[in-house]
Subunit: 146 residues, 2 copies
Amino acid sequence: MTKNSDLKSTARSLPISLLRARETVMAPVRDMLNGIHLSEQKWRVLRVLDELGEVEQSIIAKEACLLLPSLTRILRSMEADGQVSRRQDSQDKRRTLVQITEQGRQILAENMSTSQEIYQKIEAQMGREKLESLLDLLEDLQAVRV
Amino acid sequence: MTKNSDLKSTARSLPISLLRARETVMAPVRDMLNGIHLSEQKWRVLRVLDELGEVEQSIIAKEACLLLPSLTRILRSMEADGQVSRRQDSQDKRRTLVQITEQGRQILAENMSTSQEIYQKIEAQMGREKLESLLDLLEDLQAVRV
DNA sequence: TATTGTTATACTCTATAACTATA
DNA sequence: TATAGTTATAGAGTATAACAATA
């Protein structure tokens, strides 16, 4: 008797496997973020802005995997908390340009070492080469046109 | 002038990279699920139950990356829709045993081909070997103790 | 007409604590 | 005392559509 529907095992399902792997990594990251009362989403926005400099919201939404309506609310809150600043684009007045503030950068700086420790703990167990391969393959997967 | 806080680029951040990769894969999966009015979470529950047979809720929660309070609500809805059935464990009456119904299996069967097409489209672009490596590495990462 | 971003709304999930029943 | 699961609750994100301003 077949127990299941002959689907690929969940361990070989990309969506499920990516989620489980992410949950493993996020567990300690969440502990860190809880300690500074910052949501995962806001952390991603800070990371993206730190990397890209001043950018419009659509770019942030894409890079941080957030929908624009969610981002609108998140940025309003982050602006009120002084972590980002916003200004209208003078060339195209539909656009809002957003950048990280010194205070936002400070949050990243203060948590960089914890963040690195988590990464190194994973690297120590998986091996540097495997972890680099994984990151390469994840970049490849992101580039796929589905 | 340094633009950023000297953090690893977001493309080399495991949490962000795993999320972006997952969003890429989930885009067409979400289209599929929207078509049958099933949430991602319910889909994962069906996949897990199909694979594991009759199991208690804590196991489902762990395998499908859901918290027990979320799962309680989700299973209540799925039971009402006839996709899963529940019964009390006769040995340990604290436990509830859950299994997928024929109707639940039918949902998986009806969407197996779409699911496979998505996978094959990714495989065609990444290459079988790379995709297999990625799944192997994701399993390794899940096993890390953080 | 198309695009950027906001607002509105309904729904769902998350997270935590308190609780019940059972072990 | 500890565990499995439920309930309650607050908060936040998701998703869609409708809208305003601008191009």
